[in-house]
Symmetry: C2
Subunit: 337 residues, 2 copies
């Protein structure tokens, strides 16, 4: 039985989507038990009338919530009755509690992981590793790091490549993940000192399948499984891609609603549009993992729906049942001298 802690209170539509996602997970995954941390008074009514194995669901009451506007380290330390703080406390004290899923403040989740969970021995820096769909059906691409470490050295990036590769293998069954270094051109000599040194290091790393530099315009092409970068560039990459897709979809929607003729046209292509929307929808893929942490931590989008919450739990389950933390520990363990 794998015990997963779920923060019931984070996210734009909490606790409704969180609770519904948990119920789905309990019904789909038979060897998962869940601790739902949050306001009991809000959670209880949402469970009424739902069918699930109640023996595998536990509620841990938390009266407070950490919002996205709070200073992360301060919030984690002082708001001890918040759902996220209590979730981290459980993760720290209960050896059986192996993973945390939250839609709450990214900063607080990072702070809590560093302060309460710690790193796998040998890991220099944990990194955020979100996944995105690509234009190739059923193929995802992961970015590591997307914002946990704004200042990086080549050794960090090398570890991101190793950890990200293991993650894709263990959580998504990607056989031999193609690892690319985010750069401003594909040639070996491109980029700043960080990129040039990292390129050399990645070439000399036998445990990964390094395919060279890539440009940000090819992120969604399906040619790469893992993009390695510092957290600043990764954050820019992730958010500009999401932003461009959202703005373009918004323009299209507005355009299609502009006249009777376009509305009829929209009706005829609606199904296809939804298919594309589905394909590009992160809700169908999962959350961003804080890779390198001593326990599994999955951050879902703040605007996640219940499907997304379910996928985050499923993702945590896959990582735990395939022993990702142990695999990273074995790969990055400090050399014995």
């Amino acid at each position: 039985m794998i015990k997963i802690v779920v923060d019931a209170m984070g996210g734009d539509n909490s606790p409704t989507v969180n609770v519904k996602g948990v119920i789905k997970a309990l019904n789909e995954l038979s060897d998962v038990s869940i601790v739902l941390v949050g306001d009991e008074a809000q959670i209880a009514p949402l469970l009424q009338g739902e069918k699930y194995d109640a023996s595998r669901l536990h509620i841990l009451h938390a009266s407070d919530v950490i919002s996205c506007n709070e200073v992360p380290t301060v919030a984690i330390k002082t708001k001890t009755d918040s759902s996220m703080s209590k979730a981290f406390e459980l993760l720290r004290t209960d050896a059986d509690a192996r993973a945390l899923v939250s839609l709450g403040s990214t900063g607080a989740l990072l702070a809590g992981t560093v302060l309460r969970v710690g790193r796998i021995r040998g890991v220099k820096r944990p990194a955020f590793c979100p996944i995105l769909p690509t234009v190739v059906p059923n193929q995802i691409v992961a970015i590591c790091d997307s914002g946990a470490n704004v200042d990086c050295d080549p050794l960090y990036l090398q570890q991101f490549a190793v950890m990200g590769s293991l993650y894709l293998k263990k959580a998504f069954g990607v056989e031999n993940p193609r690892v690319a270094l985010l750069n401003i051109g594909v040639e070996e000599e491109k980029g700043d000192a960080l990129r040039k040194e990292t390129y050399q290091l990645l070439q000399k790393t036998p445990s990964i399948n390094f395919v060279g530099n890539m440009e940000s315009r090819d992120l969604l092409s399906g040619e790469f499984d893992l993009v390695v970068c510092d957290g600043f560039a990764g954050n820019v990459l992730l958010k500009s891609t999401e932003g461009a897709c959202l703005e373009l979809m918004r323009l299209l929607k507005r355009g299609m609603m502009s006249s009777l003729k376009t509305k009829i046209g929209a009706l005829l292509i609606k199904k296809k549009m939804y298919e594309i929307k589905d394909l590009m929808d992160y809700n169908n893929y999962g959350g961003a993992v804080l890779i390198g942490a001593a326990k599994t931590v999955v951050k879902g989008h703040g605007s996640s729906n219940e499907t997304a919450v379910y996928h985050c739990i499923k993702q945590a389950y896959a990582m735990e049942s395939n022993h990702l933390v142990d695999a990273i520990a074995a790969e990055l363990a400090p050399q014995q001298t």
Copy 2:
């Protein structure tokens, strides 16, 4: 009369689109004269039958071309018969030749500018400043730097903000450009050392309208006129935005061609789709300027059409007729002691 040098040979569809863009510029702008640099044997037939004021067009023969696969500094130095080298030589030796427009290798254009044209006195580093459409009609956003300087210090970024603001005023008539610092969050304390120091500097720069940090997802929102960043992050920002839009449009097109029903639907919304495509099309806006160079240098997209070439020339014309180089020189002149 403003004399503009146009590289006839760069780009995917040269010299056809280059020549046609030049003819359009001669017909639209009455006080422009153009020197077209390239293979005379290819250019001459394209001019036949076209109507334009021949007294304002001069052809400078160049037998060679610099390709995008060559090492930029080597190519500029050794390929002396190439259209780009000859164009730069003209810019260097002819005081009347005030601007260069090219669709050729970005690296070679940067190398040529540094080696042959030089910087405005007081400018630390010239920067690439491309413009993009936003979702707000008739509103553009500029990125400075988008790739000329991968390693930056806060003083460079401060100058990018000053030069970019002047550029938007002089070339596009933007009244009081809203300048934002690209960061991983909007709060003042976000980002790495470069961002934190730059934030403080920009706040203390009276000649600009600094509105704070921005996240890459808001690039196309129309809330900002100028995004300031180092060349690495700017390159990631620009190319991921372009890449995401292109991939999404490709998916939509494929989806609409998938059945008779969707084809009919596509027919009904075609006009709207083209409007959106037009809105998002860089061809309608102009090129990336190498801002801070002692003469005006405009880099058009390699895949530009004749409209794009015309817009690049018009842009160079606007910059020159509004004396952008002088304005930057006056603003950034070293303090007299």
